[in-house]
């Protein structure tokens, strides 16, 4: 099982969490053109490798977390709060 180290609760099994969404996208401005919103909502990347995404600790503290997960190995290399970012790894 994937284990996620929640900054509030500590390491927990992923069944306590629900996957949210891609955390690398930037929400368009409220008055941005429809095309830009369309792209934001529908055009998703499906990267193989490191990926930053939101997870919800739904059966824990209910915090939304930012998680860096390798989509191939499922290794979780970093967990932070939504406004934080992992330091650039070489």
């Amino acid at each position: 099982m994937i284990r996620i180290n929640c900054p509030y609760c500590g390491e927990r099994e992923h069944s306590e969490f629900t996957y949210g969404e891609d955390a690398t996208r930037t929400t368009p401005d409220n008055d941005a053109p429809m095309e830009e919103w369309n792209k934001f909502v529908y055009e998703r990347d499906n990267p193989a490798g490191e990926h930053i995404e939101y997870w919800h600790h739904a059966f824990g503290c209910r915090a939304w977390l930012k998680v860096q997960r390798n989509t191939i190995t499922h290794d979780i290399s970093w967990v932070g709060l939504p406004h934080e970012n992992p330091e650039a790894t070489s």
Partner: protein
């Protein structure tokens, strides 16, 4: 009859009684079903899957492919159990499988004869895909039942399993998979670091291959080492020894999954172990050789024949022959000979096995045939002799066939390291020519494969690897593993194997014994184009039986590699997947069965409903009253009565299941303006407003009523179904999208019990119930909110209506909710108040044309449900940017309409397709669907809500609601979705 009790082995003294197909048998403590059956002289244990060939014990471990039996009877029956893995207990009932009337005389064995006569017959490779394709009509009537009757394994019990299964979550620093000499050493070494250690072994007795060794004086020190090591582990507080626990899968994050059989109240534990480091010491499994009739009872793996004798005190026959392509099988011949059992021949396909082995045979008077093979096992049911022949130097042909007498043939085609757990870590195994098998190449992270599992068969060498691994693992965890005593004797690991993948001779040569896949099937698969090992597996079902290819995979892919003219390394292996052993569904389910399958939520008023005779229905996780039947009322009688009563007088309904969220903070109003399409910042304190949320893509997400309690405090209700998701969504918005907003959201669903009081007499009822509250239209108008207290209960009363009648929702603190409910009911007696259930709630809202989850199904836009006018143009809200897309506002989208059956008493089925032709066929133009239906007492007519293409402009049209599955075709009239009180006067009265 060939097997018999011979010596004590390592069994206990106590005598056990068990039965096989009802016949009484004797066993001793420590016996497996396999060893006990052999000791009782049973040769034919069952019949094979496809050809109904007689099958006996082929091994002594998890790779058993022949002796599959059903253990126990009735609900406790466990079909397809491997006799080699099942300990005999007093009174155990064992049954043979796939044979009628008995394993020795089986009517279906004609399948095997047909296979012999007709090439490419009934059950040859790919028969699933080729046979009985035509005529299709016969498939269900004839082919499938016949095949199912003919081909099969054990019969699953039809009654519920009465046993209890548990799930256990464990954490450890070092997990050791396998309790042989390497695993025991690794575990003991690691345990001395003080770290937490778990060791698994699927057998009852730990020791692995050490158990094959004779329990003799010469081996006394070795046996003592085994016992001491186990005792040291069992007495260590930081070690958990899990015997009879098959570790069947390794998952992300170093999680190992195991099923452990236990004696006692619980039958099995499903154990998940979270390990920091994993040492795989799973050992190796002996491979069979592929020759004619190699599946015949009493053909068994050499190591198994040896373990039967040395560990289980069971001689597998009175005259043993050995067939091998490597050194390891000689010890079986020697041990049998030393135990006084005649050994008629050792047949070695190699030119020269080395002087020591030649001498070993000579000194015991064993005839050794080198450069020779067994071409066929002979005997009516079990082996009574073998045909052997000399193998040509090029290995392609045989000559000089001759008979050798024997009643058990022990064979060895080499050893296959158990790489599954390592391979689950993501690294494919690689071929090692020296041992003619696949070994672990790159180790997965945090993993160490050691001993025979890594191709090292030497005793001391394997133990040394294991201790090194334990030291390395502990060091990485910042601890120091200890030194452990090495075994006092060594066993050479060199097998000097010269591969012999398939004897060049005729006859049925089984590759996968359990699934009846022959060498010819592999060749046929190749000639038909299924050449990749993954295709071979699926085309022939090879390796898909419960031994999961332990004995068959390497042989099969070697034969395939020969066919393709490529190396074995190039042919590769199939991907290893969990589970590697059969595991019970019961273990996965644990205690979450029946009523405990999922949690049931009950409202505070549950007991009241029960006393009132409510019939309950599960709605989401909640148990909700569906209707309250009186006397002999049917469900239809009851809800029609309740519905009419609410419209004429007053009713009360439990609506506790609605989601309730409190939204607090200086930016609460701004927050609601962003998530709802309509304005909430303009909502006055003490007022409620209906609100609709969209998703980012502009589709309707949820609806509900939100009231303003104070400038900075709102109370939101959501639909029952979306209570959880909306809460998570609001949290996400605040934490991710708009962290600048000073708002907190809390789920208060559990804090409040809720009841709807609806009907023309609702005001009078509540005025009587709560005299301190002024319910007059002036003081408490439609969409008003009042806070009150009553006998210690806090109340929030909203004047809102789902039914279309004058109505209130009363929220009472949960612990007082039943009292408040009773207070309302008592006060309502004067107005004939009735409780109403979910059916009536639905009927009322359909009559009123209100939507619920049946309509808001994740496909509808605001325009589809006629709410586009509600969307504010003065502000931004979620979904605003995409809701106006061309396809979202297309006039021909399916739009919400009301439907009335033309014949008032003909129901309209939910899920019906809306069509314009009277007798629509599959090709008809489907113009919409029916989402909800009810009988409307008010209209005296069956009515429905549905979505109809361009429905807004089609009022008055007559169309059909077709339900082809039930052969229904109901003529309906398209009407407004507001069947009752379209001007909405009643709610304001």
């Amino acid at each position: 009859m060939s097997g018999f009790r011979h010596g004590a082995g390592r069994l206990g003294d106590a005598q056990l009684n068990f039965t096989f197909d009802g016949k009484p048998m004797l066993a001793r403590t420590g016996d497996t079903v396999a060893s006990a059956l052999l000791a009782n002289g049973v040769e034919v244990v069952g019949r094979s899957f496809k050809y109904h060939r007689p099958r006996g014990v082929t091994s002594s471990g998890p790779e058993e492919a022949g002796a599959l039996v059903t253990i126990g009877a009735g609900g406790k029956a466990d079909p397809n159990a491997r006799a080699t893995m099942e300990p005999v207990t007093q009174g155990l009932e064992v049954f043979s499988q796939n044979c009628f009337p008995s394993p020795k005389f089986d009517l279906m064995s004609v399948n095997g004869l047909a296979g012999a006569i007709l090439p490419g017959s009934l059950f040859s490779a790919g028969f699933y895909y080729k046979t009985f394709m035509w005529p299709a009509a016969l498939w269900y009537k004839f082919y499938e039942p016949s095949i199912r009757a003919a081909a099969g394994m054990g019969v699953p019990p039809k009654v519920a399993d009465p046993d209890i299964y548990d799930r256990i979550q464990m954490f450890c620093d070092v997990a050791v998979v396998g309790g042989g000499s390497a695993g025991l050493s690794a575990a003991l070494s690691a345990s001395q670091s003080g770290l937490r250690v778990v060791i698994f072994d699927e057998h009852n007795d730990l020791g692995g291959q050490l158990l094959n060794e004779a329990n003799s004086d010469a081996n006394a020190d070795l046996e003592q080492w085994r016992k001491d090591t186990i005792a040291a582990l069992e007495s260590a507080e930081n070690v958990t020894v899990l015997a009879r626990a098959v570790c069947w899968g390794r998952f992300d994050g170093n999680m190992l999954a195991a099923h452990q059989s236990v004696d006692g109240k619980v039958r099995q534990n499903y154990i998940k172990v979270q390990a920091k480091k994993i040492i795989i010491a799973a050992g190796a499994i002996e491979r069979p050789l592929v020759f004619g009739n190699n599946d015949k009872p009493n053909v068994m793996l050499a190591s198994a024949a040896r373990r039967m004798l040395n560990h289980y005190g069971t001689a597998t026959g009175k005259m043993l022959a050995v067939f091998t392509n490597n050194d390891s099988a000689y010890q079986t011949a020697f041990d049998y000979s030393d135990a006084g059992i005649q050994v008629s021949a050792v047949v070695d396909s190699r030119q020269y096995p080395g002087q020591a082995l030649v001498d070993g045979c000579k000194s015991r008077g064993i005839t050794l045939h080198t450069q020779a093979v067994v071409t066929e096992a002979k005997g009516w049911q079990a082996v009574r002799s073998i045909e052997i022949a000399d193998l040509a130097a090029n290995g392609q042909s045989v000559r000089n066939r001759r008979r050798v007498a024997c009643d058990v043939l022990a064979h060895s085609g080499g050893w296959t390291p158990q790489v599954q757990m390592a391979a689950h870590g993501g690294k494919p195994p690689v071929y090692d020519k020296n041992i003619a098998a696949f070994v672990v190449g790159d180790q997965a992270p945090d993993t160490y494969s050691v001993g025979a599992a890594e191709g090292e068969n030497g005793l001391l060498a394997g133990v040394s690897q294991a201790i090194d691994a334990a030291k390395a693992a502990c060091e990485e965890l910042g601890a120091t593993a200890g030194s452990v005593t090495a075994p006092p004797q060594d066993r050479d690991g060199a097998t000097n194997i010269v591969p012999l993948w398939c004897v060049p001779a005729k006859g049925k040569q089984l590759v996968d014994i359990q699934h009846d896949v022959t060498a010819a099937d592999v060749v046929q698969s190749h000639s038909e184009g299924f050449v990749s090992v993954e295709h071979l597996k699926r085309y022939t079902t090879l390796g898909m039986a419960n031994d999961q290819g332990r004995t068959s995979n390497v042989n099969a892919l070697a034969i395939m590699a020969q066919c393709r003219g490529v190396s074995i390394a190039e042919a590769g292996t199939t991907r290893f997947r969990a589970p590697i052993a059969p595991v019970s569904m019961g273990g996965f389910a644990g205690r979450e069965i029946g009523k405990h399958f999922k949690p049931v939520r009950r409202t505070p008023m549950q007991e009241w409903h029960e006393k009132a005779g409510a019939v309950f229905v599960q709605a989401g996780m909640y148990m909700r009253p569906q209707y309250y039947p009186q006397a002999s009322e049917t469900i239809d009688d009851a809800y029609e009565r309740e519905t009419a009563h609410v419209r004429q007088k007053v009713g009360i309904c439990d609506v506790t299941s609605l989601g309730k969220i409190e939204i607090v903070g200086p930016d609460a109003a701004e927050f609601l303006d962003r998530v709802y399409i309509n304005m909430f910042s303009t909502l006055k304190i003490g007022k409620a407003r209906y609100g609709v949320m969209l998703r980012e893509d502009g589709i309707v997400y949820d609806d509900g009523t939100t009231s303003r309690f104070a400038e900075d405090r709102f109370f939101m209700t959501t639909t029952t179904a979306k209570a959880g998701p909306v809460m998570a969504y609001l949290e996400r918005c605040l934490e991710i999208d708009w962290p600048e907003l000073k708002v907190r959201v809390s789920s208060v669903s559990e804090r409040w019990g809720a009841m709807a009081v609806a009907g023309p007499d609702s005001r009078a009822t509540l005025s009587a119930a709560f005299p301190s509250v002024d319910f007059s239209n002036e003081a408490f108008p439609f969409m008003g909110v009042v806070h009150a207290e009553h006998n210690g209960a806090k109340l929030v009363i909203l004047r809102i209506s789902f039914s279309g009648e004058m109505a209130y929702e009363v929220y009472a603190t949960s612990e007082h909710a039943t009292d408040i409910w009773q207070t309302v009911v008592d006060a309502g007696q004067a107005y004939d108040i009735v409780p109403y259930g979910l059916e009536t709630l639905g009927a009322l809202r359909i009559e009123k044309g209100h939507v619920t989850g049946a309509e808001l199904d994740g496909r509808v836009t605001l325009g589809d449900v006629h709410m586009d006018g509600m969307a504010s143009k003065k502000k931004w809200f979620v979904g605003k940017n995409l809701k106006e897309r061309e396809g979202m506002v297309h006039p021909n989208r399916p739009q919400l309409v009301g439907l009335k059956s033309v014949d008032p008493r003909t129901p309209i089925s939910t899920g019906s397709i809306l069509v314009t032709e009277a007798n629509a066929t599959a090709g008809a133009d489907k113009q919409g669907w029916v989402s909800s239906m009810t009988y409307s007492p008010e209209l005296g007519n069956f009515i429905a809500l549905g979505f109809l293409r361009g429905g807004k402009d089609r009022i008055g049209e007559r169309i059909y609601a077709a339900y082809p599955v039930k052969g229904k075709n109901v003529e309906v009239e398209v009407v407004s979705n507001h069947f009752v009180d379209p001007t909405n006067d009643r709610v304001k009265g």
